[in-house]
Symmetry: C2
């Protein structure tokens, strides 16, 4: 017989949906929560609920926020002249953790659907268009993943952006830190060759 009572079985099934979580990890998490203090475990339940109920996309850039506009768009010190276009909120968090970018963002929330082919109807570019029409944007940086889907999206966006007459750039590609040529993926090597830079004379 299966000794798991229904609620425990359900929790195991839901945990197994998380990326990289198999039966063993799901059991480890579920048994931890089973032994956990009730109030502590319920805080996790509430935290999961809150990101779906209290977060909305920022009307200006699409980044998830609990008080629109988002913290970046609200910040008067950010340079509204540069807009970095990324695929997902987590791309923004990685860049903010770096702390070197002072412009604003535009998050393409629809990217998940790009698997079906690039289709402008699937990308809601209206907030970006409003920003471009305001006349304050000098440069749009495309920060899409260097993969088929990201490249297609970048191409599509570059065409879409042309009429606005702003500078269009993309993030640099090449070898990562410590990356050995012998181990580098073929496309990385290709990028590193194509985007080679002159060395300042000594």
């Amino acid at each position: 017989m299966s000794a798991y009572p229904g609620p425990l079985k359900n929790l195991l099934d839901e945990l197994k949906r998380l990326p990289g979580v198999g039966a063993k990890s799901a059991e480890r998490y579920a048994f931890f929560l089973l032994k956990d203090e009730k109030a502590d475990a319920l805080r996790l339940a509430d935290a999961v609920r809150a990101i779906k109920e209290d977060l909305t996309p920022c009307p200006e850039c699409g980044l998830v926020t609990d008080e629109p506009p988002c913290a970046v768009c609200r910040d008067p010190k950010r340079d509204r002249g540069i807009v970095l276009v990324v695929e997902q909120p987590k791309d923004v968090y990685a860049l903010e953790a770096l702390g070197r970018y002072r412009g604003v963002y535009f998050v393409l929330l629809g990217t998940v659907r790009l698997l079906d082919g690039v289709d402008e109807r699937q990308l809601d570019l209206k907030p970006l268009e409003r920003r471009l029409r305001s006349g304050e944007v000098r440069e749009v940086v495309l920060g899409l993943t260097a993969e088929l889907e990201g490249d297609q999206t970048a191409l599509h966006l570059a065409q879409w952006l042309r009429p606005f007459g702003v500078a269009i750039t993309r993030l640099a590609r090449g070898l990562g830190p410590g990356q050995r040529l012998a181990d580098a993926p073929r496309s990385s090597l290709e990028d590193a060759l194509l985007e080679r830079r002159p060395i300042a004379p000594g």
Copy 2:
């Protein structure tokens, strides 16, 4: 700045409490839930809540259940003459998955507190006592972990059980399947030597 909105930060903190979940895994899970369909993510929140709100210890054996008494204690085919004492519900699930044990269980839910020293006041043995006094129990098998804490608990239970006049046994210890002597933990080798069994003559 930290770009994480409050609710996302909270979720990351709660996920990091799960065993073996560091910052990277917490981010992977949180970003998955952020992109997940709302109804799907809320099922996880509800499943966590349900194991704390809908599960209670079985009044007979202590195993968590959503309809007391638990499925094992309810099963008329189980042999109430043998009671296997284990530390946690997950020990029961492992044994039930094996499908070779036909007796009933007693789950020592208080074991977590044994870190402070074995103290009978910390173990609620009343349901076990009721079973013993009913006269149907022939044997109590101690299935505690072969570690300091489990050994102390087993010793304490053996003393507590003596007046009831039932057979007291414990699970066998020794080398695991495929375990090489050279790699075996010292205590495993010791158990394997002490509990060596005669080989039937060929």
